[in-house]
């Protein structure tokens, strides 16, 4: 009987399921990311303890929220690939006749899912702790859109970079060193969009969609580039 190779979609689903299963069995990464996010919020609380509450706070809070996301995602990305290298899992994966692009996509998706899960906990927490400073405008809930856009970009380029840095000396620092400048344009666009959403009114109409469009452009270009280059990095 001829054995049909599984379709790309099946491969993708299997790999993704593997990552999710491994994670939900131990809940290692999500718990540590969640606690880390909470600690960053506490640090922000201390840093802002002498700031005066007021509408001006809204202009800074979008940026702070993104600082939280960047630090938390750095932690997550660092750990996401160490599982693979620790137990020689990566060699096994590479022995299988898989397209490397599929490995990239599944890894990026699992990173995105973990990041999104942590954000679902961290963003409301952030709101709880800092809404006493200034109430966001009615359009505030729209920050979900830049958050999603930013997370997609972070997961995409972050997967490529964390795969690379997983096999270097001093990998934690190395990842941060590469990740922060490369993600900078996206971060800038997302902070701008988030601030627009939080401040609302005229500012919202002016800048929100431009920033989103630019962020989306970055996502598309960078994910395509990472997807193509992933082939070389893994081999």
């Amino acid at each position: 009987m001829a054995c049909k190779p599984p379709s790309t979609w099946t491969q993708y689903r299997t790999l993704l399921a593997k990552d999710l299963k491994a994670e939900f069995r131990t809940k290692d990464m999500i718990v540590s990311m969640g606690i880390y996010a909470f600690l960053v919020i506490v640090v922000f609380g201390v840093a802002l303890s002498f700031a005066r509450p007021g509408a001006e706070f809204l202009e800074a809070s979008g940026g702070l929220l993104w600082a939280l996301v960047v630090f938390t995602s750095l932690l997550g990305l660092n750990r996401s690939f160490s599982h693979e290298t620790e137990n020689g899992c990566l060699e096994g994966l590479l022995l299988a006749p898989l397209d490397r692009g599929v490995i990239f996509l599944s890894k990026a998706t699992s990173n995105l899912i973990f990041l999104a899960l942590v954000e679902v906990i961290a963003v409301p927490l952030y709101w709880v702790f800092f809404s006493s400073f200034a109430a966001p405008a009615e359009t505030g809930w729209l920050l979900v859109v830049p958050l999603l856009l930013g997370s997609i970009g972070i997961a995409g380029i972050g997967t490529l970079l964390s795969t690379m840095t997983a096999s270097t000396r001093g990998k934690d620092v190395m990842l941060a060193l590469l990740f922060v400048p490369i993600i900078f344009p996206l971060l800038y666009a997302c902070v701008s969009a988030t601030t627009c959403a939080l401040v609302g009114g005229e500012v919202f109409a002016e800048g929100f969609f431009t920033a989103l469009a630019l962020g989306a452009g970055y996502d598309v270009i960078m994910i395509l580039a990472s997807w193509v280059l992933y082939d070389f990095v893994v081999n």
Binding site: T168, R169, M174, F184, P185, G207, L214, I221
Partner: protein, 254 residues
């Protein structure tokens, strides 16, 4: 391997080496000419208006003369050279990924070294101008920000190189970062320009260049490009010499 089409590798003694000495001399002459022209021929650019008009030489002047603007005549050529270095670094990185030949990795690395050198020179001249004109050492202005990011990525590139031991893997990772950086920087430039930050408005004076200014910048740019090329070639020769000595040493030790 034998049936593989013969790959032409950059090597010491090929035609670019013949151009090295003339390029260096021409570069030195052109930049010197540009320097002299900037200070003695191109009239100083006017800044803020003063209340009154005064006859200087044979023209009426009603603005403050800006000496600080003279920095621009070298600032922009140096910046152009750094971008070009980056572009060539990316080109060689692509060649490396296609052929997996270490020689292209060497070329790519040296291109980025040159690029880093010129980025640092751009930062220095830019900083001096910023400090005098705006009175601050740093401002989050689109061009400055883009350059900072560019510099950080190139520095990260070299740190990454030093933290991987295996040559093949080091070269691959470096090539990937070189390509990502070349893609990232234009996006960064665009995004920081199209989304003006509200706190620090764009302060740059926009305005055309007079033909004289344009010529001066062109002269300096050509000179700087030639200097950059000569430096690249000199460094390439030196690195190749070192590599060949290393290879010889290894084969003797056996």
């Amino acid at each position: 391997m034998a049936d593989k089409k013969k790959l032409k590798l950059p090597e010491v003694g090929q035609w670019p080496d013949k151009l090295m000495a003339p390029a260096l001399i021409a570069g030195a002459v052109l930049t010197t000419l540009g320097f002299l022209m900037a200070f003695f021929i191109v009239p100083p650019v006017g800044g803020a208006a003063v209340d009154g008009v005064e006859l200087i030489g044979d023209s009426m002047v009603s603005q403050k003369m800006l000496l600080s603007q003279k920095i621009f005549y070298f600032h922009m050529p140096v910046a152009i050279t750094s971008f070009l270095g980056m572009a060539f670094g990316c080109y060689y990185a692509v060649r490396f990924l296609m052929t997996k030949n270490q020689r292209f990795d060497t070329c790519s690395r040296i291109c980025l070294e040159i690029s880093l050198l010129f980025i640092i020179m751009t930062m220095i001249t830019g900083e001096m101008w910023t400090r005098f004109e705006w009175g601050v050492w740093w401002s989050w202005e689109p061009r400055l920000t883009t350059y900072l990011i560019l510099m950080l990525i190139v520095i990260a590139y070299f740190v990454l190189r030093s933290s991987v031991d295996e040559p093949e893997r080091r070269a691959t990772f470096a090539a990937v970062i070189a390509i990502i950086a070349t893609v990232d920087v234009p996006i960064c430039f665009m995004i920081t320009r199209l989304i003006p930050s509200s706190i620090h408005p764009v302060v740059l004076r926009e305005g055309g260049m007079s033909p004289e200014m344009g010529m001066c910048v062109g002269l300096c740019a050509l000179g700087m490009l030639l200097v950059g090329f000569a430096l690249y070639r000199a460094r390439f020769n030196q690195v190749r010499l070192t590599q060949r000595v290393e290879a010889l040493k290894e084969s003797l030790e056996d």
